[in-house]
Amino acid sequence: TFSPAPGSLQLTINHDVAADLDSSNAFEGPEKLLEVWFAPGPDALPPSAKENGLKAVTPSTWEGMLDMVNCKVLSIVKSDHVDAYLLSE
């Protein structure tokens, strides 16, 4: 059983997307996996990068890119080190 630590890991749900989601068509399971590194580590960002690097980018900006991929944001867990987006095709 999890009890979220207040403030450290925050879950945000996109109710609009979750409300009318329908995945009744069986679909292709095996995923496409892309991993892109821009710096060796979180504490080795280049001087020009924003303080928090990619984590400084807003969800709505990522949504523009995800639209091109045919994905919607269902929910996000934000933490100090990583933001985890749960997506739906």
Partner: protein, 398 residues
């Protein structure tokens, strides 16, 4: 599908007929414009082609079940490689495993020890696809070298086919609802439904949710009096996803007893299907001098339909954290789904392997990764790259 955004890297995993690579250029552009990472393929950020220079790119996938349904550059591996070769300068493509069985494709760019190259001047692109001159260099070793977790990085991915039909039923709305109703009082369900109808936009849930006793809904038999509307502020898909995470055993892979700060975000699709992300902050013991603790992720996606059943599990939580070995994770995950066949890919940075005193022959040497009860290991293939070892294994049920 899932996306994980770290300050220095981004992982995007999409299933179905999504067109992941069509988002790649935009991703690189956002990294330059919105996150400030350096670019070398244009004279100015105002040039619409200006895109951040990645240090390293990995793109991989298993062979598709229904390749003819794919769209865009994903209609074939050849097309994907062509697209990536048109985008990056020094990429390499690999096929790992049996051509006449489940195999795995990998495309990667890596840092040749190059020095900084001057920005290129792009010619105008035709029909939007990148032209050779607007290719993006990768792997540029630049002033931002420093302490990095790239030197201690590993990723484990388990791709499972022909899931045990009985176990796969857990990922259907009908069965999950039946299980949930045994575990969640009716009033909480009603509160959830009512709250859901009254909710408007995404932001309003942020603060309220921060204190949500969501796990109360799914994990414990809360009595009616202590479930508040705030606690019910979830959706049916998320609430059922949380129940399924508990009942199928996934929530026990990184149990709260070992990882008190961990968090799962799970969703059960209608009529079936399941996705979950886990964020696992490292235990306090592994914080550095400044008290910085890393965080890792795991993600699962399940397609339970019998004619195309499939489940994937991926994590970069370091093996040996909390004494947990990669083989423990494999055994536990395979036991949840009991697939007919599965592949295991294990990426490990070389210096990590060196730390553990294993040489190239010792990569992924944890012998228990080869011995999975009830399965026969058909292949074990080791690829050695500049900075990584990759071990690919393929198992079939005995």
């Amino acid at each position: 599908s899932s996306m994980f955004v770290f300050p220095h890297k981004l992982i995007l995993k999409t299933c179905g007929t999504t067109t992941l690579l069509l988002g790649l250029r935009r991703l690189l552009r956002i990294a330059a414009v919105d996150a400030g990472f350096p670019f070398h393929n244009a004279a100015s950020i105002d040039d619409i082609h200006a895109a951040a220079t990645p240090l390293r790119v990995f793109y991989s996938r298993k062979n598709f079940l229904f390749p003819d349904r794919q769209q865009g550059p994903h209609t074939s591996w050849k097309e994907e490689v062509r697209f990536l070769d048109d985008t990056f300068e020094n990429g390499s493509a690999y096929l790992v495993g049996r051509m006449n069985a489940d195999h795995w494709y990998l495309y990667m760019t890596g840092p040749p020890s190059a020095t900084l190259t001057p920005p290129l001047t792009p010619r105008s692109s035709n029909n939007g696809s990148p032209t050779r001159s607007s290719k993006i260099p990768t792997g540029i070793v630049s002033p931002f070298n420093g302490i990095s977790d790239a030197q201690t990085d590993e990723t484990l991915e388990i791709l499972m086919m022909d899931l045990d039909p009985e176990l796969a039923k857990q990922f259907y709305l009908e069965q999950a609802s039946a299980v949930a109703s045994e575990r969640v009082p009716a009033q909480a369900q009603e509160a959830c439904r009512a709250a859901h109808e009254s909710l408007g936009d995404i932001d309003s849930t942020v603060d309220v949710f921060a204190n949500c006793g969501e796990s109360d809904i799914s994990g414990q038999q809360a009595d009616d009096s202590d479930v508040t509307a705030a606690e019910a502020m979830t959706t049916e898909g998320h609430a059922l996803g949380t129940v399924v995470s508990e009942t199928c055993g996934l929530a026990q892979i990184y149990p709260v007893s070992d990882y008190p700060d961990a968090r799962i975000d799970a969703y059960l699709f209608t009529p079936c299907g399941y996705s979950a992300n886990g964020v696992v902050p490292a235990p306090t013991a592994s914080a550095d001098e400044q008290g910085n603790k890393a965080a890792h992720y795991w993600t699962v996606h399940v397609t339970p339909e019998p004619n195309c059943s499939y489940a994937s599990f991926e994590t970069n939580v370091p093996s040996r954290q909390n004494g947990r070995r990669a083989s423990d994770t494999i055994h536990q995950v395979v036991n949840i789904f009991k697939p007919g066949r599965f592949t295991v890919t294990f990426f490990e940075t070389k210096n990590k392997v060196a730390e553990e005193g294993a040489g190239a022959n010792g990569v992924g040497v944890d012998k228990r990764m080869d011995d999975v009860k009830g399965y026969r290991r058909m292949d074990r293939i080791v690829h050695e790259f500049d900075d990584y070892y990759l071990v690919f294994r393929y198992f079939e049920r005995e």
